[in-house]
């Protein structure tokens, strides 16, 4: 009888303890390099410090985050935490971490991530804490220094314009028989700094995105560069729809002199290019209106659908602690979004070239134009980026004139914004 009673008590205890023991969080993670692996390492420490918790990192392709996650979330499904790039667009699915953070930690978040927290929010009235930037990125131009040296062409100095860079890169390309002067990733995000440099304001007085004179001037210049054979047609013109295509391979294979991409490529540069030739990151090229880069990045966000909001907040807070965040930045070779970590500095175990590249990107951060910051924080920024890739791609492919492409671009953006507001 004692044995039966003991068994019953043990069984009841096991049932009661089960929910406490089975605290499991699923983190959907895409990776540009080793972000998911490093997060997994830090998660192991979290598990050790919080007995009974299990953090499962589900590594997925970027396409899954962009195309499948929003549908999952709209259907009330999905992970507890996800690593996303559409920071403002998914706002309605985010879990506000604030109620689950102590006052001191909430203040630490507000102080350390003051520049990026608004990117997750739905307007100025929203004061929620929704996500942790796991990667703050800055766009910029990678230059094949070896080719410049071989061609004996001096590299344009800080303050040089897009035209200066294109002219110099063209000289180098001709002297070294490299097919193209410059390539840019096929992405509206990458095009934005060129547009703002040429005077694009991106938004009108009502805060609605517009294809203004600056945007048009930049688009014309961009398509003309392709027509002149200065840029490889296959990057923007070779793919259909609004699909992303990077031009890293073109640069790594020595087919372009200058490659406009961003800081997230540093790790690939260091591991795949450094041995082949010398490269450098140029200061943000200028236009008549600005010398600007485009901010961006990826973030871990808590999702409202989670059954364990407190644990989600606890894990994200753990990641945001200075020591862990510094480790995340150092091992993934990313620029910190946390002001306290940035101030204290991050020791990167990278080559001298990558270190110089990181410094160049960091130096561009204060120069980022307000329009680009606003665009990054705009909830519907992909309604600007995607049609830009689609329509300018069609113009580059010669399917329509630049004027027609710009008209279509304006109407696509307008339609998307109107549909979203319905």
């Amino acid at each position: 009888m004692t044995l039966v009673r003991f068994s019953a008590v043990a069984l009841a205890a096991a049932f009661l303890a089960a929910p406490l023991m089975a605290q499991e969080l699923r983190v959907q993670c895409y990776s540009d390099g080793n972000e998911c692996e490093v997060t997994g390492d830090i998660a192991k420490r979290f598990e050790a410090a919080n007995a009974g918790t299990k953090i499962i990192i589900d590594k997925v392709p970027y396409k899954a985050v962009v195309e499948q996650l929003p549908v999952q979330l709209a259907a009330g499904e999905g992970p507890d935490i996800a690593r996303v790039t559409d920071l403002g667009g998914l706002n309605k699915y985010y879990l506000d971490l604030t109620p689950h953070l102590s006052a001191a930690r909430a203040k630490a978040w507000a102080d350390n991530f003051s520049s990026t927290l608004p990117w997750f929010r739905n307007g100025a009235a929203d004061k929620g804490i929704y996500g942790l930037m796991s990667q703050l990125t800055v766009t910029g131009a990678y230059v094949n220094k070896t080719l410049f040296e071989q061609a004996k062409v001096p590299m344009p100095a800080a303050g040089a314009s897009w035209d200066d860079w294109m002219a110099a890169a063209d000289k180098v390309a001709k002297a070294t028989k490299v097919p193209f002067a410059m390539a840019m990733d096929r992405s509206g995000h990458r095009f934005a700094p060129l547009a703002v440099a040429y005077g694009a304001k991106i938004f009108d007085a009502n805060g609605t995105p517009v294809v203004d004179a600056g945007y048009q001037a930049a688009a014309k210049k961009f398509v003309d560069w392709h027509k002149a054979g200065l840029m490889p047609k296959e990057v923007w013109g070779g793919v259909g729809g609004s699909q992303y295509r990077d031009a890293f391979e073109e640069f790594a294979n020595g087919r372009v002199v200058v490659y406009y991409s961003g800081s997230w490529q540093l790790k690939r540069m260091d591991t795949q290019v450094t041995k082949a030739f010398d490269w450098a990151v140029a200061p943000a090229p200028c236009g008549p209106a600005a010398c600007t880069a485009m901010p961006g990045g990826a973030a871990f966000v808590g999702l409202k659908r989670t059954k364990q909001p407190a644990l989600v907040a606890k894990f994200l807070d753990f990641l945001s602690e200075d020591g862990n965040y510094r480790e995340l930045m150092a091992k993934t070779e990313n620029i910190p979004a946390s002001l306290s970590v940035a101030k204290a500095g991050v020791t990167y175990n990278v080559s001298a070239m990558a270190k110089a590249g990181l410094n160049a990107f960091v130096a561009d951060v204060p120069k980022i134009a307000k329009a680009n910051f606003d665009l990054q924080g705009y909830r519907l920024n992909r309604a600007v980026f995607l049609p830009t890739a689609q329509r300018l791609g069609q113009a580059v492919a010669g399917e329509m004139s630049t004027e027609d492409a710009l008209k279509r671009l304006a109407s696509d953006m307008d339609e998307q914004v109107k549909a979203a507001s319905k």
Partner: protein, 316 residues
């Protein structure tokens, strides 16, 4: 005289119910994964907004269809409100015409050759059928590696002293390669259908033709082709249906580019419903409704053609 046994009626009823027991699992699966999505798609086509759940979507009547069909001149996509849809429609039509005619031609030639007593006939039949076994994504990736700027084809061209070409970078050549790869990948399937038809033609007809000293062309045009017509019709309609549904291979091979030169209807639907930030499910559903109408029309053509062929056979 009939004798009523006790229990005879229930047994008859049970016998009548038996097929339904066997059919039920399939009916449930078909209902859940085919008919329910079709019904939901039909409903979505008449709703607007960006909400995912049907109950949250406002009814907009024919607005989505009107948006897609709104054109100054349907033959000129640039005059259409949804130019990309019409580009996709005309690309699909062009693909159907080229792909179907070339597919039928090459499948027929291949079947005729493989039906002859050639050395290693079994091996050659295997060679032609092998690509059919490959996943469309694998087919597209293999050909992408061959056709890209630093691909095998350009390496061969450079090796022969030629200038490497951007095979998938120009609208015309990208379209050509889409048709070529599709024919390469599916030729074996259609060849097999035609081969089966060729083997069903009685040999004594050819013997009689030989005795009458009929030329090979006369034999082909008066015996082979008329008797192969039912199979040719099936091949034509199946190839046309496949052309209209084209997506995976092309999406991986060209991504719909350059520009929109190889964007077909299914890709337009996918882009509208799943790739944009603001997902217009209603418009995508309306696009798929129009696609379904095209497929129904093609299927009716196939049914009518095969019935006509059967009637012709019976009359003979």
């Amino acid at each position: 005289m009939s004798v009523n046994h006790p229990g005879a009626v229930p047994r008859a009823q049970a016998r009548r119910a038996t097929p339904w027991w066997f059919l039920t699992p399939n009916l449930v699966i078909m209902g859940l994964f085919t008919f329910l999505p079709i019904t939901i798609n039909f409903y979505y086509a008449f709703t607007g907004g960006v909400a995912l759940y049907p109950q949250d979507r406002p009814f907009v009547g024919l607005e989505n269809l009107a948006t897609l069909l709104d054109c100054g001149n349907h033959f000129d996509p640039s005059t259409c409100r949804r130019d990309l849809f019409w580009r996709a429609v005309w690309n699909t039509a062009k693909l159907s015409v080229f792909q179907v005619s070339l597919m039928v031609l090459f499948a027929l030639i291949t079947a005729l050759v493989l039906n002859r007593k050639i050395i290693g006939r079994g091996f050659w039949r295997g060679v032609f059928f092998y690509p059919v076994l490959l996943s469309p994504v694998v087919v597209a990736l293999v050909w992408k590696w061959i056709l890209q700027r630093e691909g095998l084809l350009n390496a061969a061209v450079a090796g022969l002293g030629g200038t490497p070409t951007l095979w998938l970078g120009e609208p015309g050549s990208a379209f050509f390669w889409v048709v070529f790869v599709s024919i390469w990948a599916h030729l074996g399937f259609y060849t097999l259908i035609l081969l089966a038809g060729l083997q069903a033609i009685p040999a004594d007809l050819y013997e009689a033709a030989q005795m009458d000293r009929a030329s090979p062309w006369r034999t082909l045009s008066r015996i082979t082709l008329p008797l192969l017509m039912p199979n040719l019709l099936v091949v034509m309609v199946l190839a046309a249906i496949r052309a209209v549904q084209t997506f995976d291979e092309v999406f991986v091979l060209t991504g719909g580019g350059p520009g929109s030169a190889t964007t077909f209807i299914v890709q337009f639907i996918y882009q509208t419903g799943f790739q944009e930030q603001v997902r217009l499910y209603g418009l995508a559903a309306a696009g798929s409704l129009l696609l379904a109408l095209a497929l129904v029309a093609l299927t009716l053509v196939q049914l009518r053609a095969s019935r006509a062929a059967e009637a012709g056979e019976r009359a003979r």
